[in-house]
Symmetry: C2
Subunit: 407 residues, 2 copies
């Protein structure tokens, strides 16, 4: 599927024509087709805070087989036959990289995506917050069984009042907050306005920052039961992580991960006016750098022979959580999956797990196939339910082909 509008045609000329501008204040900027430009250029739309790269970039060895993978047959979840290249093109992929045994076997960029240009990762950001939280639990700095309010007294009287940290880490919080992007009254938009991620009306009198918004949240249903995907829970976890360490999220991600695995580029967070990094969906990074993160995960926290993250932390993610609890979340394309430390765990025979963000962002780790796939996208539809029917079978097809030495 080719675009009716070239994603590189926005914001051209001096000045660009009014209808070709991608304006933060215009809801169209956050929708296809302008989205195809916007997700690659967020720092040009909003204030951002850098996540410092490594002093020296690491070399990712290459053994590229792009053509072979492109031709790989893929049968979608709905039974249609396509191939890898057509399948990913049909869902407006921006960047796609496959590592097999640590070597780059596939790397392509589409639309307005460039190798050196960070792309908005959306909820893939959450997995960084969850990873750091579990790391702190492992180190004994954070008690997963402690009440949230032990760390954030400001949340007394809110939905999080009687929750424990583990409930937050696995998104099993009863809170009145809808993430339904097709409902303009969903609270996700109140959150976005507070965070400065979307335009505020001139008469806006809502919360000025994310943390003020979190303090308005009311309880709805029990904690610790069904999985309920609520971005605000990541913001709560990010707040906890910062209180525990005394460091901003940008510093934590850089010191603990980004600077230590030979990343090529500074990543960056969108921030609110208090400098709060939007941990729920505001991290931007390049395709190659998130591939390094995937490879770090696949190697159970080791990088070039050095243990960067304790293996037990990665194992705790990969083992997943309650599949039964997850089944309450209503994710029809993810049967038998679970959610642990803000990662999505397949429980398939390969032990695959992933970080996922709307419009097609993912870090997919397949330990058995010794494969990592990172993808950036700007699909017409936000929810990954729209793209999973192509994406997950294609990832599986690549895993099988690489394991069998067929590509």
């Amino acid at each position: 599927m080719s675009d009716a509008v070239d994603p590189n045609s926005w914001m051209q000329g001096f000045p660009p024509k009014l209808e070709e501008r991608v304006l933060f204040a215009d809801p169209a900027a956050a929708q296809f087709p302008k989205l195809r430009w916007a997700l690659n250029h967020y720092r040009e739309l909003v204030p951002t805070k850098p996540v410092r790269r490594a002093p020296v970039p690491s070399v990712l060895p290459r053994a590229a087989v792009e053509a072979a993978l492109d031709a790989l047959p893929v049968r979608t979840m709905t039974g249609e036959d396509t191939n890898w290249a057509d399948g990913f093109a049909s869902i407006h992929t921006d960047g796609l990289l496959v590592l097999h045994r640590g070597r780059v076997v596939y790397e392509r960029y589409f639309g307005a995506c460039r190798p050196e240009q960070p792309h908005l990762l959306m909820s893939v950001s959450k997995s960084f917050v969850g990873l750091i939280a579990q790391w702190l639990v492992h180190d004994g700095a954070l008690d997963e069984n402690a009440p949230v309010t032990n760390y954030i007294p400001e949340l007394k009287g809110t939905a999080y009042d009687d929750a424990i940290v583990r409930n937050v880490m696995d998104m099993r919080i009863g809170v009145k907050y809808s993430e339904l992007y097709t409902d303009p009254n969903a609270e996700v938009f109140d959150y976005a306005r507070a965070a400065g991620m979307t335009r505020r009306p001139p008469d806006y009198s809502g919360p000025e920052i994310v943390y003020d918004f979190l303090r308005t949240l009311k309880k709805e249903g029990p904690h610790g039961e069904g999985f309920a995907y609520k971005t605000v829970s990541t913001e709560v976890l990010g707040w906890i992580v910062k209180r525990v360490t005394g460091k901003p999220l940008a510093t934590l991600v850089s010191e603990r991960i980004w600077s230590r695995i030979g990343t090529e580029e500074d990543a960056y967070f969108m921030i609110d006016t208090a400098g709060t990094e939007i941990g729920g969906g505001g991290l931007n990074a390049t395709l190659r750098d998130i591939a390094r993160v995937g490879e770090l995960m696949r190697n159970r926290g080791a990088w070039n022979g050095e243990q960067i993250i304790p293996a037990a932390v990665i194992d705790d993610i990969a083992k997943g959580s309650s599949q039964e609890a997850f089944s309450k979340g209503g994710y029809t394309t993810l049967p038998g999956w679970s959610y642990r430390n803000m990662w999505w765990v397949s429980h398939n025979p390969h032990g695959a797990y992933m970080a996922r963000g709307i419009y097609g962002q993912s870090i997919f780790v397949d330990p058995k196939a010794e494969m990592v796939i990172t993808r950036l996208g700007s699909h017409t539809i936000a929810a990954n339910t729209a793209t999973d029917p192509v994406v997950l079978p294609a990832y599986q097809a690549a895993a099988e082909a690489l394991m069998a030495g067929k590509v």
Copy 2:
């Protein structure tokens, strides 16, 4: 002079206290003391566009003599005796670097300034626009004697209607536009609102982008006569440069300069909502990277044996312009100076010239002393008239000491 408030104390905590936040919407962010934090963190306040760094950073050889320079006696323009260290501390210096014969002899950071963190260069930005414009003139791509409206027909009927490009390049334009920062009604603030550099009131109905603002400017006085420092003329020149090359300013600065002299960091421009880089004052870069630019200038456009910029372009800057025209500008601290291609030329026996920005930004090139000094600052007062009495004698003292081998 030590700060009453540590510049690193702003924006700390999760969240920072309201009174300790540096808010784009708050005029205090652009004033001392919050300015001391803000000038080092502009990307956290506004949208920005990167200027791509070099593929591999160049090594700046070191022969550091910080202590000797710090102790260097300096007699200020007003006859006070101080020394280098105290002099620069008294005017809230953020970063100070001296190159002598290409070696770093002095490099210090103060306040909230960090080696890897770009600092707002204010009007030092202008010198990049002027340099590129002169380069295009040299290459025959831009006719300095052509009417501005040959390149920008949108400026017909404005102050620039009967101006030629050279008038713009040397700031000898008769336009009703005041740069007086102490006058809240000065047009510089209308410009800043249009550019998105300062807060717009809720009922704002002014120009949406810089170019729309330029189209409102009316003539006041003749062109081609007295020097009149008007930031809007740099925006006009930037517009011309982009029309001539078909490339954004960020691309031009990167392709022609930044990527070719081993810069360590991406620089970045503040931009308006049309993506227009604020060439008049929106470039942010690190102290070391602008030192590389100064060294490139000192070597008449050569870098490591390669001619990056034609020597004639640098010579055209260094030769200066009419001292008599300049004297009409009212710069009491710069007697006998002139302004050429948006650089300030001393006409002193050393042939020194500089790029200058408010609150203390400078790139100072002293060819005879084989010295380059770059400085970043966040002084209490915007105009460099307040800091020149210390800065210029200190630079001269360093030049003499280095030439005499005394430090």
